[in-house]
């Protein structure tokens, strides 16, 4: 875990990052998932999105990541006070990660590094998530925790300031949760923002956190 602080690339601070959402609502079929959700994050901060299953947490996260269009409402992402597109500032991790069956961990990691236009394949991100020993393991043979950490290592390599994570701690043991918490803490400490859906929010030391509860009056 200490590896993370020893690579300057992973500690360069982010500045002036914000995510503003106003009046978001989402409808699926004839069911309204949520209505008039507003959210403003403009300081380094962790937001837990909580609520019962089926209430629309994943939908809200995908909307905030610019992957789904809200039925009403408006979203804006900013870096250094200037509006940017979702692709400029957002890393999104779905619940099971998105490792491709049939590739080894190193191949999968390198593929996304090249697709994201990174100049070099950074071993630092794999070191920081303790995955260097599993480089030649096929992704379908990784444990739940290793898959989650592979996802986190891509977020680290990608260097985007807004992390949107869907259940990043699901299925992890105590040490896995601690490791994930540490990585998220370091991200907030360098000026980033994290929006995380979870049934079981962990308390992360020295990290400003708020809760956004779906399913109750805002």
């Amino acid at each position: 875990m200490d590896a993370q602080t020893s690579y300057p690339m992973l500690t360069t601070p982010f500045k002036g990052v914000s995510l503003q959402a106003s009046g978001l609502s989402a409808v699926r079929g004839d069911k309204t998932l949520f209505e008039n959700v507003s959210l403003r994050i403009d300081t380094p901060e962790l937001i837990w999105v909580i609520g019962p299953n089926g209430i629309g947490k994943t939908t809200l996260l995908r909307i905030c990541a610019g992957l789904l269009r809200p039925d009403t409402g408006h979203l804006q992402w900013q870096i250094n006070g200037a509006a940017v597109s979702a692709a400029d500032c957002i890393s999104f991790q779905p619940p099971q990660g998105f490792a491709k069956r049939g590739l080894t961990l190193a191949e999968d990691f390198a593929f996304w590094s090249r697709i994201n236009g990174l100049k070099q394949i950074s071993d630092a991100a794999l070191d920081a998530t303790n995955l260097s020993a599993h480089k030649h393991t096929f992704t379908q043979n990784l444990s739940t925790g290793q898959k989650q950490r592979l996802g986190l290592s891509r977020l680290l390599a990608d260097q985007k300031p807004i992390w949107i994570l869907d259940e990043p701690m699901a299925g992890l043991d105590t040490s896995g949760r601690a490791q994930t918490a540490h990585i998220i803490q370091s991200h907030i400490a360098r000026g980033g923002i994290a929006l995380i859906a979870s049934h079981n929010p962990a308390s992360i030391d020295n990290t400003p956190a708020r809760r956004l509860t779906l399913g109750t009056p805002q």
């Binding site: 995908r62 990541a65 610019g66 992957l67 789904l68 269009r69 979702a86 692709a87 957002i90 890393s91 999104f92 779905p94 099971q96 990660g97 998105f98 491709k100 069956r101 049939g102 590739l103 191949e107 593929f111 996304w112 090249r114 697709i115 994201n116 236009g117």
Partner: protein
């Protein structure tokens, strides 16, 4: 390397490790042609006369079999969403996936055509004509099949709908593809049918690729 080349390289690697999923089309083609030969009574002259249309049909059917391989897996495992967050346009994704579909699933069908043609006693001039026609029509076949793949990639089923959607688009290619192969021994590559076939392929690039890209975008935001 460009993202298109990266995606094609990855897809070829995945296909090679997929336990032979790329070869189902070839197996289907072999069965289809063998069953046709049996159904037609096995007379060599009948088979020879019908070999070009039968090989064309077998390739079109085999390509329809692979519709769900083009976009669905990347859609389901979240890869498409990540492509979008990596600033790849839908057009880039559609082009890359259509190209890898053509290389992995369609090219082997065309490359094995000389083997099947021997079973049907096809002459060498007809064989050259057939292969040329298939290669010229390859973009149209790949792109129109990919349009259906893109439209249906977010649905769990829809194979039947895919055939209904794709078949009308492929009919002109089939008509002129067969005619081009048959006229090759008389008029060579200058035969009018070859030019029309090339035109159909260019139209598919101009219309089909943007349609696939639009369908992908709609399914991603759906």
């Amino acid at each position: 390397m460009s993202p298109v080349a990266e995606i094609i390289k990855r897809d070829i690697k995945l296909a090679a490790r997929s336990g032979g999923a790329w070869s189902y089309g070839l197996v289907f083609m072999a069965f289809f042609l063998a069953l046709c030969a049996i159904a037609l009574g096995g007379k060599l002259q009948t088979l020879k006369d019908l070999s070009i249309p039968l090989i064309w049909l077998s390739i079109l059917f085999a390509s329809l079999l692979s519709i769900s391989h083009i976009f669905r897996q990347d859609m389901e495992d979240g890869t498409m969403a990540q492509f979008k967050l990596a600033r790849l346009s839908s057009m880039t994704i559609a082009s890359a996936k259509t190209l890898s579909f053509a290389l992995i699933y369609l090219l082997p069908l065309i490359l094995t055509t000389p083997i099947w043609s021997q079973f049907f006693g096809l002459g060498s001039a007809e064989l050259v004509g057939l292969c040329l026609a298939l290669l010229i029509a390859l973009p149209a076949i790949a792109i129109y099949v990919a349009v259906s793949g893109a439209l249906l990639c977010a649905k769990q089923s829809g194979g039947f709908l895919a055939i209904i959607l794709t078949a009308p688009l492929l009919i002109p290619t089939l008509i002129f593809g067969i005619a081009a192969a048959q006229n090759f021994s008389d008029a060579g590559i200058a035969a009018m049918e070859f030019r029309i076939l090339a035109g159909l392929s260019f139209i598919s690039i101009a219309i089909g690729l943007p349609a696939s890209a639009a369908a992908l975008s709609a399914n991603l935001e759906g």
